[in-house]
Amino acid sequence: MDFRLSDEQTMLKESVDRFVAQKSGFEQVRAAAAGPEGFARADWQTFAELGWLMLMIPEDLGGLGGVTADAALLAESFGRGLVGAPFVSTAVLCAGLLARADRPRDQQPLLDAIGGGEAIVALATEESSSRYGLDAIAAQAKPVDSGFTLSGEKIVVPDGAAAGHFLVSAKLAGTIGLFLVAADAPGLTVRRYRTVDNRRAADLLMADTPASLMIADALAPLERAVDEAALLLVAEALGCMDAAMSITAEYLKTREQFGRTLSKFQVLTHRVADMFVRAETTRSMLLRGLSALDAGPEIRAAAVSAAMVTAIDAGEFVCGQAIQLHGGIGMAEENAVGHYYKRIRAIGRTWGDRASHARRHVDLTQA
């Protein structure tokens, strides 16, 4: 075992940290979040130029063949900078699923477009009553002469507003199939809207919407891909916590009440110490999750759920207390700590929430 970064990983981390330091001042982040897509397309082009969008595409499909731990370095830094671009959905989750398609070579053009920053793809799995169950869906696929059509609805598709394509799960002859649907396909209504973290999601309403089949028996690959994406959310949450802690510690050093700086009040400094301990535990659980990603499905799922539960609780504590320790000013929309809190709230209900992960852990680890 060796927890140190490789030389390549160190370079990757330096490059993303530099990007975040230069590009993601809080004011810029707010400006990007206020735009129509919740992030800046120019940044997305920079991601492509830096190779980040092909990082997770396998080498035999023209990508860099990176590992999830590499992507986690990016996600953590994006968390620190509140970068709203759909890196995880498009360049990891959907790119990964396309690379695992029943006929991956057919997906080469779309994978190239993802790697080049031209295509944004979002995964649509959640439905009105699915509660994060990837198999608890009602959307139906129907074979037609030209391929398939889909009918049904999907809600709160992460990064769904900017997507040109969706990967959509639907029932297909007793299995869960995964289909590619163009955002401008006939019979598809896309309702785009803002989420608490100032990003953009979408609801999809499909009525005989033409779709092409990517994976006929998709449940197992979907579960793996979503677990991988969840771990990257853990990494992003870590970045949020790290930033919120630093900002808070800095504030305690400067804000004065009762004739001294807040840093002289032990109850407050111990709170920051607790925040640190929770964040470090989250980092350990992230690494443990990464180590289990290629183990059997049950070991992987339990480790990812454990990491998510840890991250959700730690994130709520760390970023919630960052607001608390700021006092009134932490409640102001123009203060950064609240935005870290909101991102944590969103992370904690993307592809699973605390309850769904805790239940899955129980089911997998207790007879």
Partner: protein, 395 residues
């Protein structure tokens, strides 16, 4: 010891319930459930409706326009108001400055100011916190300097709730910079928000709502008679107002209503058939209900046989604020992935809501976010814990 409600109190509850039936306009009731910040129109209209029945300041002594009900009856009345989704009237006139005026104000102040508090015609705001004086209120610097028959006020207040609704502000000011706050350095003055020297800047909070403001006071000249009560007693009056509000701030009536709503959300989201998710939601609701029962009985103890113990009041504030947060946290958790959607507090006016949610979802996101402030405002919970340690144990 008698641990039961008297028959007349139970009868009183039923009378009030009957009298309130149909009194809250349905759209106002819906706004009360779903908005974390009440609208000015609702505050004024509901104040007027209550006033017409003699109930706008039920907790006041009868001679000033109250009902003369017992403290327990007032509590029962407030529970029934919350159960009917009636807006919680503005704090500043009926809860804070009103009692200050009828207790310490001069006769002409009572005569001139109290009638418009009863009707809601005049809305007030409270000038307390300053940018560099939050928890440390005694360090406030806004000054009122005597100049002939006037005071001239200069300074800045912050987190002023409803300053943008208010006609008047009662304002904690330093009238004697040579002595500490606790030794007579502070007074309360009142000033018109229309004065050209008053500038109100909105502060948008985490939830994207606007209820608090910065208020800049520049050479605001008021007649010397507009000092409230006596000069130099500002700190005593502050303690008087906070002590008055120790029970109201626990917001038990609203919390009991929210518990009912939580059960409705659970029934709608999880259906009637057993599932692990439903079990967990029900367990969490049960825990909140037990905690609320504890809070309610602590409040009843204070209402019936008030202890005047500041440590008890601080404890109520800690328990109540954390409970309010946990209740909205659970509400958001129960709506699943829709908990990620930013449902603003006016969203229920729309009929094309994203996520196709239940009617209880709009406003939840904003409410959950804004309630992060409950552990900060009215004396942060850290300050409250310090009070308990000091007052109860001399630590």
């Amino acid at each position: 010891m008698d641990l039961t409600f008297a028959k007349e109190d139970e009868d009183f509850r039923l009378e009030i319930r009957e009298a309130l039936r149909g009194l809250v306009p349905p759209d106002m009731a819906r706004r009360t459930r779903q908005r974390v910040h009440p609208t000015k129109a609702d505050l004024k209209l509901w104040n007027r409706i209550l006033y017409d029945r003699g109930w706008s300041v039920a907790h006041w002594p009868k001679e000033y326009g109250g009902t003369g009900w017992s403290p327990l009856q007032v509590h029962i009345f407030e529970e029934e108001l919350a159960a009917a989704d009636a807006p919680f009237l503005t704090y500043f006139g009926p809860r804070l400055v009103g009692p200050l005026l009828y207790t310490f104000g001069r006769e002409e102040q009572k005569r001139d100011l109290i009638p418009d508090i009863l009707t809601g015609e005049t809305l007030w705001c409270q000038g307390f916190s300053e940018p560099s004086s939050g928890s440390d209120l005694a360090s406030a610097r806004t000054s009122a300097v005597r100049d002939g028959a006037s005071y001239v006020i200069n300074g800045q207040k912050i987190w002023t709730t409803e300053a943008h609704y208010a006609d008047r502000m009662f304002c904690l000011v330093r009238t004697d910079p040579s002595v500490p706050a606790q030794k007579g350095g502070f007074s309360f003055v009142m000033l018109p928000m229309t004065d050209p020297g008053v500038r109100v800047r909105p502060i948008v909070t985490l939830d994207e709502g606007h209820s608090v403001n910065e208020v800049f006071l520049e050479n605001v000249r008021i007649p010397a008679s507009d000092i409230i009560g006596e000069e130099g007693r500002g700190w005593d009056y502050t303690k008087f107002m906070l002590a008055n509000e120790r029970i109201t701030n626990a917001h038990v009536p609203r919390a009991k209503r929210d518990l009912v709503l939580l059960k409705e959300i659970a029934a709608s989201e999880y259906g009637a058939s057993p599932s692990a998710a439903r079990d967990e939601a029900r367990r969490r609701i049960a825990q909140l209900e037990m905690d609320l029962d504890g809070l309610e009985w602590s409040v009843l103890r204070e209402i019936i046989n008030g202890s005047k113990n500041p440590a008890i009041a601080s404890g109520l504030k800690i328990v109540a604020s954390e409970l309010q947060q946990r209740m909205t946290d659970l509400a958001v958790d129960m709506i699943g992935a829709r908990g990620r959607i930013f449902y603003g507090e006016d969203d229920f006016e729309r009929n094309d809501l994203p996520g196709n949610p239940g009617e209880y979802a709009p406003g939840l996101a904003a409410r959950q976010l804004f309630l992060r402030a409950t552990t900060i405002y009215a004396g942060s919970n850290e300050i409250q814990r310090g009070i308990i340690a000091k007052q109860q144990f001399g630590l």
